[in-house]
């Protein structure tokens, strides 16, 4: 019982049904999306990636990686503070 009601003779060609003629507001959906894509990107997003990158030990400038020249770390030795 393949009753084919074709109300507006819409012939998508693929027989998919889901893709009818795009409604008139369809362009607005794209506009909503694109308007955000085109916004200037706040710095905090790039900052976040830079921080993640550095935490992974990448570091922007490879090479200068020697430590332990003389006093590598400041020893927290010395005056203990008796509270």
């Amino acid at each position: 019982m393949a009753s084919n009601h074709q109300r507006s003779g819409s012939n998508g060609g693929g027989g998919d049904g889901a893709q009818r003629r795009p409604p008139e507001w369809a362009d607005g959906l794209k506009q909503l999306y694109d308007s955000v894509v085109e916004e200037a990107l706040p710095d905090n997003f790039k900052d976040l990636l830079d921080r993640l990158d550095e935490m992974d030990g990448g570091g922007p400038s490879p090479g200068s990686n020697d430590n332990g020249q003389g006093q590598g770390r400041p020893a927290p030795d010395g005056r203990g503070n008796p509270a």
Partner: protein, 207 residues
């Protein structure tokens, strides 16, 4: 030389750099998708940052040459759904677009505003909203959208179809929740928002 097991340890520096570059490149799209999903720009950006953290931690699992946008959208939608279950995003929409006029269809007196469209979009069930956003705004094919949502292509088609029908009807009839009127839909939206506020998540001042 203390090697603290870094998460992206197995990637070469070049792979890592290109991963970072690609991820940076899709951030505007993540923001657009997130804002369409959850409405409020600040919450949407939180969601994007959460997504970036997760993507970074999982970068070993990204296959170079595949779509970074699709890959990160999966992460973003999962984060969104998790947050939805915690009731974070209910009844929220962006008023920032309120005055932008979308289009004035022939034979219709009132132009459709982008804000109307956005509000109508946000009344849809989440799975239809995301399907429509992916296909209708993000430009993904049905197949790509199905892969992102982890469901069958036919399911996506059906969701998009229903979402379109619902939006068309709302926009044609002016049946859109609106703050200034007290019809049933607006009333329901306001009640939901009160719930949200009561739960401590609400926006405090408006106008």
């Amino acid at each position: 030389m203390s090697d603290t097991g870094s998460p992206g340890g197995s990637l070469s520096p070049i792979d890592k750099a290109s991963f970072k570059r690609e991820l940076t490149g899709v951030v505007p799209h993540l923001r657009a998708f997130a804002r369409g999903l959850c409405g409020r720009p600040d919450l949407a950006d939180d969601l994007v940052q959460e997504t970036m953290l997760k993507a970074w931690a999982a970068q070993d699992r990204f296959e170079p040459g595949t779509s970074m946008r699709a890959w990160t959208f999966v992460i973003l939608r999962n984060a969104y759904l998790t947050d939805m279950r915690r009731n974070r995003f209910r009844g929220e929409y962006d008023e920032g677009v309120a005055e932008r006029i979308l289009t004035a269809p022939a034979g219709q007196e009132e132009p459709i505003h982008l804000s109307d469209l956005h509000r109508a979009l946000l009344t849809l069930p989440a799975e239809r909203r995301e399907a429509l956003l992916l296909v209708g705004a993000g430009g993904f094919s049905y197949e790509e959208a199905a892969a992102i949502c982890g469901c069958a292509v036919g399911t996506i088609k059906s969701r998009v179809g229903r979402a379109r029908a619902a939006l068309s009807e709302m926009l044609a009839n002016g049946n859109i929740p609106r703050r200034s009127t007290d019809d049933d839909i607006a009333h329901r939206a306001i009640l939901e928002e009160l719930d949200t506020v009561a739960a401590g998540n609400g926006v405090s001042s408006r106008g």
